[in-house]
Amino acid sequence: MPAALDISAYPPDGMEMRLIERFTTLKYKRVLEVGCGDGRLTFQYAPTAASVLAFDPDRASIEEALDEQAWLKIRNVDFRLGSIEHLPARGAPFDVVLFSWSL
């Protein structure tokens, strides 16, 4: 039953990006994503971002994200297991912070 595979409570691909782009573009930006899950949103903007640091506390989700990252050959995303508490207080500044379904 192929239709069942399309069932999702999340917005269709592209909708969140259109809403985000009403405020800022992510192109060529350094992005911090908090609560990235399996990278569902991350992979929509990462190909045009400068770099992405993406956190999620769920190990299984991060492992899925890493698998998909390898398959998509996207190299500018650093997926990390953890929460924003694991973000060093100092370091290069980000242009955009995304709390995607995580606040």
Binding site: S8, L41, F94, W101, L103
Partner: protein, 139 residues
Amino acid sequence: MVHALRRAGQRLRPGGILISIRPHRTWRPLVSIVTPSRRVSVARLINSAFDSRLSAAEAALARVVEDGQFTLAGIRNHRYRARLDNPSQVRTYLELINPPRPRFPAGRRAHLFELWGSRPRGSHIEIEESIVVTALRRP
């Protein structure tokens, strides 16, 4: 949540944008049966455990603006619909949501089955979800 926003703000450049995407707190998911001629509302899903988190998120966003760490750049609300072929897919839809999951109010799932049993040919089920996007700017 305030701490998380402050922590993020520490690493955001001046003029940078913080975006929060989350379910709308009051526009709860609406389940409807859509026939070829009309839309019949069945239930608004409830999720009391999650509602308190959404209230806390809103309060945290307001707090960091009040504190002067951010300014409000804007808020956008948006709705979208998921089309489902039958009540079994409604169950799957709900199971795919990370806990705490929404649920039907008492008696409304039975109402869905009742209406679905007498549906006209060509009907389907829709769940309308609502999200809110809040953008804050670091001064």
